[in-house]
Subunit: 657 residues, 2 copies
């Protein structure tokens, strides 16, 4: 039989993703708060510790746990370095603690404790045999005192308590049966602001193809707008066979530049650069220049090929062959996508294929790229991503991967569990207050909050949602504020958003008319009605208010009008608190009564406090949780209130005592 | 690298207790309904199966699963034999199913499918190589047809679909990584009605100690009351040293019989019989006679000893020795229980101790006892119970163990997970409608419903709850109805309950005055105001209505008066439905409006239906979910309504068409 004297149970550990199969996610400097149910039979006292280590270390660091009540214990530790950590727990019956607790009760009841002191002294002697030399001597001295005239003083001394905690009898300790993994990412994994543009449209000269140099020239502007990630659609050579024309037509004209996602041609594949954009050197210069101003270039990684991609020739086994000897193009029957070949993840040659695909990430990481936006990861095998992300991040723990999987919820979550750092979300289609409340409550509570980091996009080159088609400028502003305050990470397909492009390909469709995916667009970047000034303001509010730089504290607050959505974020220490209220109806002025639980903000029920609208500039004096709000979408469909605790009163004057 | 071509994910399996560490519980004849999230990348079709087997078998039986939507699948299987089963899941990308689904779409769109038919025919050929001889021939014939003039007919034939389901390509199937255990118990594990009495008080002659023969004489009465388990406190020799006197005083008189839980003395220990009750043979006759009338004798197993128990002499190492050479008695400092020695579960000699304790169960099982009520299991090591119950049930899968752990919630649940068949509950102290609703919702939902079987007791020899002390006859009746209808298993410390004993040891205490634990009581079993007739009626209602014989369907229904608690139970096929309404206020008439969701009972919103009060006999015609109820606690504090769907209308007459 296994050792039967391990009497402590450890269970209900949180966080823990699918029994420890997947890692929880943190960024450098965050703390990991762990709770567990830990108890034993009978009345004996239990002691327990949370243990953690870096993956490559073998020694655990122990943190004593604190009882919260109902057999629930808690402890925490900080993660200060990039990479992988592990944590587990240990618990043991603490006979000395039981004895010590009981001794006090016996003394209180006036019982004779002579034999009890002897029992305790024997435990102290045993601890001495486990102790370092100096401590052993102290313990033996204390044991001797316990048997003498001042036995009680020695028994109850804090010195003894501390030493016995250090040298407790853990012979029959229970180790939690799992070691739970943590991945520690760079800070931008949690808080990032993304700007998407097509470099080919970046030329100030409308007669020529945009280049990396043109993009570089835009960097000061983008910094000024408050973005810290600049995401570029694929920059590789674009295929020529079956190239798509304007508005996704199947016949491309000779001038049509094609979709950047149809990757590969005579000029190379996933490790090459589309010649019209510049050289690899130009690209590296862009990456470096961006880094210098605090911006990361995010590359688009789309694992699919155009028919003229070199891999088609060199690695035919990576694709599925049809009985007529042709390669199977992408399909969603009856629709055919003849310009794209998908990889066959059941290929006999899957191992070399996995390695080559992973090397695409490391190749670009060598050029300085640390952020990747991965196109349609849900059409590649989960096992591939689990392996690939682990392999890449072991080598480069500073890499961030954004999963672009607009698909079914469990698939999205599985990709995040498998290692994607951030994920696109359903925010794009969540418009009503009830929808947003339900979805973001799910995203910001365990278990989801520990493995899935949302990155909110009001639009993308693929998606012009109905709300933006129909709601005009108020809808754009409301969606901007929602994305920027509900999500610590958000992004926009920028020119189309700034300039409020709202024309769909056809009624009822959510593709853009004249989509930049299939043609070069000439944007009037400095149009007078552009949303740029407002975007810059919102991003400055995000930068100035750490509460908005994390999603974990998100809480919704009831308003008696369903068109008004109210929510708050607060820093862990409570020093920064933001309450956002959005009118989700772009057409009508809406008003209602907001109901705040003031204790969540550390405000006593009768204490007046100020809310300062960082968007509109107004300052309101509120008292109590029940407050009136009114938002006219034409003027400004949202408040972003910074809550300020301290109101001056007459008691603050010198003469008041 | 591990095989990378397994593309299916299986997760979110339910039921599953702590990652499969513990078994789910069922009784013979029940079905096990299993759900899981199963999906793959991309657009390919998935097929999956639920697999189960008896523990000792090696071959799985597969049940195809059905998609519920949102990647959730379900299947079920029945468990028809006592003992242990296992289940797991398997899923695979079903290329033939994908092909077949896509073929229909291509045909609909008028595409040329010649090459597609060839692709399908190759899959059929491959399946033929996996098939039995006869099926292989059929498959080859079908593949040939698919390449011929009537290719489409063959491709879409149901015959081909069935064969391809049977011989699908599972090379890259994903096995769920765990085999999940099930324990299948006898029917009384789920539905049982317990009657507790002290045999020593069973004598009709007040001058003599009751015997097993006296208990035997009471069997017809107990059957008539509708009980099927007769639970006896410990029947072993009672210790003499430090024996407790009346009302738990420390000085016993020479006539005091002592507490049956102070086990062991000159006449033996846990495998012996207290001589005044009769012989082992008498006991066996009682067990057999009870069995003949459908009653199981439940024995009390209390693993603790009186100072004169033979084990103290023979196995000193099983107890903790104090420095003065005495054995450590039970304590909860400053309280001392010198009449009881607890076992030391950290004894060096723990293995022989475990085996001897387990042999107590098997010894009594050999005498015909199949049900054990285990006293204070939470003061013994969890690891011991895990091992002991498994060992006993491997040999005797018909054994039922009731855990008497009135302790903290996680400890109670852990004992149930470790194998206890049934458990005492907090019902004893849950009195208000809100308390009962919250607690029984927790108990009857996953995960608790799958491992914890509540057994509800309104009183025990240890506990006379305040509600019964203060509420008079209406409280006794309300608590009886609640226990009998909320719990498929319930029991009572019978004479004290029938006769409505309500006097505590002292004000504010919940021990009985003149507790039968310390003295022989002479009960007036046939007192005219006894609750016996009502108890018999309630138990007949339980027997006649299968809805009350399971807890899984329990649902609460809102009433606009907090003193009225309403809930229902319905059989799986909907043929039997019981709605119980209890006035939990024993002092006042209460009325209110009950709000039923009629679709839960298969009743259309406008269809009239009858509720028949099985307690009071009244029949009420209701229409719609909103109905008035009124309960006078003095008359009868509860309705137990049987819902009858079909109301006769004029359309039932012959002449109506």
């Amino acid at each position: 039989m296994d050792e039967g004297r391990r009497r402590v149970v450890i269970e209900g550990v949180s966080p823990e993703i699918d029994g420890g199969q997947f890692a929880i996610k943190r960024v450098v400097g965050e703390s990991v708060v762990v709770e567990a149910d830990i108890y034993t039979d009978g009345h004996d006292a239990v002691s327990c510790a949370l243990r953690y280590r870096r993956d490559e270390q073998t020694e655990w660091t122990d943190v004593p746990m604190t009882l919260l009540g109902n057999d629930r214990w808690r402890a925490s530790f900080p993660v200060m370095e990039l990479g992988s950590y592990r944590y587990t727990l240990i618990g043991w019956v603490d006979h000395f603690l039981t004895w010590s607790r009981d001794l006090s009760k016996r003394i209180e009841a006036g019982q004779d404790v002579a034999i009890d002191l002897e029992i305790g002294a024997r435990m102290v002697d045993a601890a001495a045999s486990r102790a370092s030399r100096g401590d052993a001597a102290t313990l033996r001295r204390l044991a001797k005192s316990m048997r003498g005239r001042a036995g009680l003083d020695a028994a109850l001394s804090p010195e003894l308590g501390l030493l016995m905690e250090r040298y407790g009898d853990r012979r029959f300790a229970t180790d939690y049966r799992r070691e739970l993994p943590i991945v520690v990412d760079p800070p931008k994994a949690r808080f990032s602001t993304w700007y998407e543009l097509f470099p080919r449209s970046a030329s100030p000269d409308p007669t020529r193809h945009g280049t990396f140099a043109d993009v570089r020239a835009m960097l000061p502007e983008i910094v000024g707008l408050g973005f810290d990630v600049l995401y570029l659609p694929p920059i590789h050579p674009i295929g020529e066979r079956y190239r798509k024309g304007k508005n996704n037509t199947t016949e491309a004209g000779t001038d049509d530049p094609g979709s950047p996602w149809a990757i590969g041609g005579a000029h190379g594949g996933h490790k090459s650069i589309h010649p019209e954009l510049g050289t690899l050197d130009d690209f590296r210069q862009l990456v470096d220049a961006a880094r210098d101003v605090g911006i990361d270039i995010a590359m688009d990684i789309a694992f699919q090929v155009a028919p003229d991609h070199p891999w088609v020739e060199d690695h035919r086994a990576w694709f599925r062959e049809r009985p007529d000897g042709t390669i199977q193009y992408a399909e969603n029957p009856p629709k055919k996508y003849q310009d794209i070949y998908p990889f066959d993840f059941e290929s006999e040659d899957w191992e070399p294929m996995w390695r080559e695909l992973a090397s695409v990430f490391t190749f670009w990481r060598h050029q300085g790229v640390r952020i990747f936006r991965v196109d349609n990861p849900h059409t590649k095998a989960f096992g591939f991503w689990d392996w690939c992300i682990d392999a890449v991040k072991r080598q480069y723990p500073d890499v961030i991967l954004l999963s672009e999987a607009f698909t079914r919820p469990k698939v999205m979550y599985r990709l995040a569990k498998g290692g994607f750092t951030q994920s696109y979300t359903y925010f794009t289609w969540r418009n009503t207050a009830a929808e947003l409340r339900e979805y973001f409550t799910e995203l910001t509570r365990p278990p989801v909050v520990d493995f899935f980091r949302p990155n909110l996009w009001p639009n993308t080159p693929d998606i012009l949602p109905e709300a933006l088609q129909l709601g005009g400028r108020p809808a754009f502003i409301a969606r901007l504020v929602l994305a920027a305050t509900l999500g610590a990470s958000y992004g926009m397909y920028a020119p189309a958003f700034e300039l409020m492009e709202a024309e769909p390909l056809a009624p009822g469709r959510e593709e853009y008319l004249n989509s930049e995916k299939y043609e070069i667009r000439r944007w009037d970047w400095n149009r007078s009605d552009s949303l740029r000034p407002l975007i810059a303001l919102v991003n400055r509010i995000r930068r100035d208010n750490p509460a908005l730089q994390s999603d974990r504290s998100l809480r919704f607050h009831p308003v008696d009008n369903d068109q008004l959505l109210a929510y708050s974020k607060v820093t862990e220490d409570g020093s920064n608190a933001i309450i956002t209220i959005v009118n989700v109806d772009p057409h009508h002025r809406q008003s209602g009564w907001l109901n705040l639980q003031l204790d969540e903000f550390g405000i006593a029920g009768d204490q007046p406090f100020q809310v300062h609208d960082l968007l509109g500039g107004g300052r309101f004096l509120w008292q109590g949780g029940h407050n009136y709000v009114e938002l006219d979408p034409v003027a400004m469909p949202a408040h972003i209130f910074r809550l300020r605790h301290r109101m001056k009163t007459e008691q603050d004057f010198d003469y008041f005592v």
